[in-house]
């Protein structure tokens, strides 16, 4: 179903309606009855071909008729000299400037309008190449072309081919007056309808006289408006919205040209393809006459007419040459191209090129192109721009990415583990040293294999002498406290040392009282005492057992031994015996002997009991292991002394036994110890030398490799 667009609101309406169903504006203008103007051609509903131009309409003024007659003669005379007439369609820029669209081809049989026919032919051929861009305006300009034959402005004479130099010198422009088809002004007619205000306004605009500066010269009789002009006006008002094509209509060269331009003659005859229409040849300078109008297909620019001189020497260059001289596109470096993301992601300009803008479809500017839009750019509904989401990655970045991927992949790979040798050189070395040492000990301990000299008697240390003095000066039956505080691990060392001192104390017939802050100490003391020979009788000693509490227990035992240890290890009450009857505190013991293998225990006893013993002037004897001697010796060598005597290690025991005359049992151990220590000393020195030499060799190798 055909639709008609309202000139006011622009909405589509069925074609059979006369009034817009939305705004009630007239869709079809009211047409004056054709009785007054019988010669009016029928108004076509669709774009039609140009109607035939009547040869001599009765309304043509005499001056126009005369001009046409002279035109015919002049055309024949100047046919050869006439510049070639361009028969091709005018370029778009030309049409856009003037607001014209090429018109349909319409052959005219009138010899007076050959140039017009040629223009039409050109426009027809232009339409064939460019497509059918005919719009309703063709009809309008059809009428316009008709009207041009009847009446033409003074300066149109200039465009005619060499006919009227007098007219070209003083072009006169008729004053344009709005009149109806009958030549009557709208005010003098009784209109059968009431035009809407907008339509009336448009009509008034069209009917209003043009400014004087635009139209100069020739005056037109006011009482009579050319038919063609009236038809044009009517068509413009009523048919601008009819059958609007989807694509904006490109103004044809003929239809959108003003009447005065369409009627121009370029001088008739000649090569119409190469002749610009509407230019009087005689008035043109020579260089301008040589201009050749190139059809659009020959010219790449639509905005600039492709003017080429016949004589290439006239101008320094031609368009084709100019195209060859066109600067080459600069090839930008990669980093510059990478810096212009705007071009990649920025949306295309919302501003359409001028040639792509659609013609205004509604309002008083209907049919015109290039007008300011009534709607704001924001309100226009258009397809949103497409932003590029492609990531631009340079080569260096790609290289970095690949390197990072390699690093991450290498993290997943497990490093090969070094296979630890089952038998290392350290294992072999340890076994060798152990075998060597055990062999030496076995050889020296085996009876009859090794006989040593024993410790030298003259090298008895003062602490041994003091210990011997203290032990030998004990009265018979004197209570002596023995504190057994060494671990079972060092039983091999401490048993011999303790046995030597205990044996000497037993000779003084003192009463031994054994106590221990170690749970196993009491049992060890019991074993040592029972292994001594001659055997110590049960009534010669008592074992109080385990003293709990550590330093607190020792401190308590120092002040109240009866209360803290009322029973012996065997459960008997020993404090009531004759030996311990007078013992109420630690100061009541004649001698306190502390047998320990570590300096901590020895320091604990010294710190807790020494003040009490000092006040009571009671001696304190320490029997220690070789490892505790460095920690206990300050208590002996300090002035005033806190320890009155000390027997430390196997050497001290040997010296003590040799002092008391019991060296036989110690000699064997002393000899083995000496041999073993000698071997150990040799091994330590050899290992140190080997380690130093290996470090030195490694350093020399490193220095050599560095050089």
């Amino acid at each position: 179903m055909d639709e008609t667009f309202c000139p006011m609101c622009g909405k589509a309406n069925p074609a059979d309606l006369d009034v817009c169903q939305f705004c009630e504006a007239r869709l079809k203008p009211l047409i004056i009855s054709p009785s007054q103007n019988e010669e009016l051609p029928s108004q076509p509903e669709a774009p039609q071909r140009l109607p035939e131009v009547p040869s001599s309409p009765p309304s043509i003024p005499d001056w126009l008729r005369d001009l046409r007659g002279s035109e015919t003669i002049e055309q024949e005379e100047d046919e050869q000299d006439a510049p070639p007439i361009h028969t091709e369609p005018l370029p778009d820029w030309f049409n856009e400037r003037l607001g014209f669209t090429p018109a349909d081809e319409d052959s005219s049989g009138d010899g007076d309008s050959d140039w017009l026919d040629r223009l039409r032919e050109n426009s027809a051929s232009y339409e064939e190449t460019e497509g059918d861009n005919s719009t309703e305006s063709e009809v309008l300009y059809d009428e316009g072309t008709l009207g041009l034959e009847q009446e033409e402005f003074s300066w149109l004479d200039i465009g005619r081919v060499a006919g009227t130099p007098e007219l070209s010198q003083e072009p006169e422009v008729e004053k344009f007056e709005a009149k109806n088809l009958d030549g009557q002004s709208p005010e003098s007619q009784n209109l059968e309808f009431e035009r809407p205000e907008a339509e009336q306004f448009e009509a008034e605009q069209l009917e209003s006289p043009l400014p004087d500066d635009e139209m100069q010269g020739k005056e037109e009789p006011e009482e009579e408006e050319p038919e063609w002009l009236r038809r044009i006006r009517a068509r413009q008002i009523t048919e601008v919205e009819d059958n609007q094509p989807a694509e904006p209509a490109k103004p044809t060269a003929i239809e959108e040209m003003p009447d005065w331009l369409v009627k121009e003659e370029s001088g008739g005859g000649g090569d119409s393809e190469s002749q610009m229409p509407g230019i009087v040849e005689e008035t043109l300078p020579d260089w301008l006459k040589k201009l050749e109008f190139i059809p659009p297909e020959k010219s790449d620019s639509e905005h600039v007419p492709a003017l080429i001189f016949d004589d290439e020497d006239a101008l320094p260059f031609t368009l084709e040459q100019d195209e060859q001289r066109a600067p080459e596109l600069a090839q930008l470096p990669n980093w510059v191209e990478a810096m212009r993301p705007v071009e990649l992601v920025a949306p295309s300009s919302s501003l359409d090129p001028e040639e792509e803008r659609a013609a205004e479809r509604a309002g008083p500017l209907a049919g015109l192109q290039g007008v300011l839009p009534a709607e704001t750019e924001v309100a226009r509904v258009r397809k949103p721009p497409v932003y590029s989401v492609r990531l631009h990655v340079t080569e260096s970045q790609q290289a970095h990415v690949s390197l990072l991927e390699e690093l991450l992949a290498s993290e997943k790979e497990a490093n090969p583990l070094l296979v630890k040798p089952v038998v290392s050189y350290q294992y072999g070395l340890r076994l060798a040293i152990a075998i060597l040492l055990l062999s030496l000990l076995a050889w020296t301990l085996w009876p009859g294999t090794y006989q040593g000299a024993g410790p030298a008697a003259q090298r008895i240390l003062p602490e041994i002498l003091d210990a011997n003095r203290l032990v030998g000066g004990l009265p018979a039956g004197a209570p002596v406290l023995l504190a057994f505080d060494y671990e079972p691990g060092l039983t091999g060392e401490m048993d011999g040392i303790a046995a030597a001192v205990i044996g000497q104390i037993r000779r003084s017939e003192a009463f031994l009282t054994v106590i221990s802050t170690n749970p196993t100490g009491a049992v060890q003391a019991e074993r040592v005492i029972r292994s001594m020979r001659p055997v110590i009788e049960a009534n010669q000693y008592t074992n109080l057992g385990y003293l709990a509490g550590g330093a607190t227990g020792v401190a308590g035992f120092t002040r109240a031994p009866r209360k803290l240890m009322p029973f012996a290890l065997d459960g008997l009450r020993v404090w009531d015996s004759a030996s311990l009857k007078g013992v109420d505190s630690l100061a009541d013991f004649s001698l306190v002997v502390v047998i320990t293998d570590n300096g901590t225990a020895g320091r604990l006893w010294i710190e807790q009991i020494q003040p009490t013993l000092k006040d009571a002037n009671r001696p304190l004897l320490l029997v220690t292991s070789a490892q505790a001697e460095p920690l206990i010796r300050p208590y002996y060598e300090g002035i005033p002394r806190q320890v009155d005597g000390m027997v430390a290690g196997l050497s001290g025991s040997a010296a003590f036994q040799s002092l008391v005359g019991n060296s036989l049992a110690v000699n064997q151990q002393w000899n083995v110890l000496g041999a073993g220590l000698t071997l150990v000393a040799v091994l330590i020195v050899a290992g140190g030398l080997f380690s130093g030499m290996s470090d030195m060799v490694g350093h020399l190798r490193w220095v050599g490799a560095k050089r």
């Binding site: 040492l437 000990l441 301990l445 220590l677």
Partner: protein, 232 residues
């Protein structure tokens, strides 16, 4: 084998021989035999200690006096009995807080005894002894060579001061330079470092000698056992 050796002693000797061999097996590396011997020793020692504590402490020092020294023991042993029972609350996690006062009393008493003994038994006497290192008169009274005594005192004094200075870590920071000690203190620290090294060496030597002595005893035991069995 000696004739007077009883069966118990014989079994003990055999057990000792076997255990000694098991401990010596550590020479070839850690093995189940060695671990068995270690675990056996720990178990036996713990059990024996428990037996000694129960018999020698709890029964003899707490329970029996209450029964045999009733009136005098009540006042003296009742508080320890109650505190010991109160400390048994430590067995339960929910009631462990009840044993905190007892633990506090024990810790406090032990700390007091230890600190008092350290001050009165070591700190003061040793400091007094250090001041007498250069007292020649005391040397004469002791009948010691004064020259040797004086030299000994100087060495001991330098070593003691240097060792104490070595553990001084105070330093001054100047502009543009890292924090460092005074040069004099730094030098004394170096001297003290030498004495510390000598001390550690002496301690190591003493430990080695003690251990070697124990090894000698064990090897002798093994040889005696072998010889005794060979003579069987």
């Amino acid at each position: 084998m000696p004739a007077d050796m009883s069966l118990v002693d014989l079994l003990g000797t055999i057990a000792g021989f076997i255990l000694t061999i098991l401990v010596f097996s550590y020479l070839v590396g850690d093995n189940p035999l060695f671990r068995f011997a270690v675990h056996l020793f720990i178990g036996v020692a713990t059990g024996f200690a428990a037996a000694v504590i129960i018999h020698n402490v709890i029964l003899d020092q707490l329970i029996f006096p209450l029964f045999y020294q009733r009136q005098a023991a009540y006042l003296l042993l009742t508080p320890p009995l109650l505190l010991g029972a109160w400390m048994l609350a430590k067995i339960s996690p929910r009631m462990a807080f009840l044993g905190n006062p007892v633990m506090g009393y024990l810790v406090g008493a032990g700390a007091a005894a230890a600190i008092g003994g350290a001050i009165l038994g070591t700190l003061f006497p040793q400091a007094n002894a250090s001041t007498n290192l250069l007292n020649v008169r005391l040397a004469l009274q002791a009948g010691v060579n004064p020259g040797g005594y004086l030299l000994n005192g100087i060495i001991i004094l330098i070593g003691s001061v240097g060792t104490l200075v070595y553990f001084h870590f105070g330093a001054r920071q100047s502009l543009g330079q890292p924090a460092q000690r005074h040069p004099l203190i730094d030098e004394l620290g170096r001297i003290g470092q030498v004495f510390i090294a000598v001390t550690f060496g002496t301690l190591f030597a003493g430990v080695y000698v003690a251990a070697f002595t124990a090894l000698i005893e064990r090897v002798s035991f093994l040889i005696s056992f072998i010889r005794n069995f060979l003579t069987l």
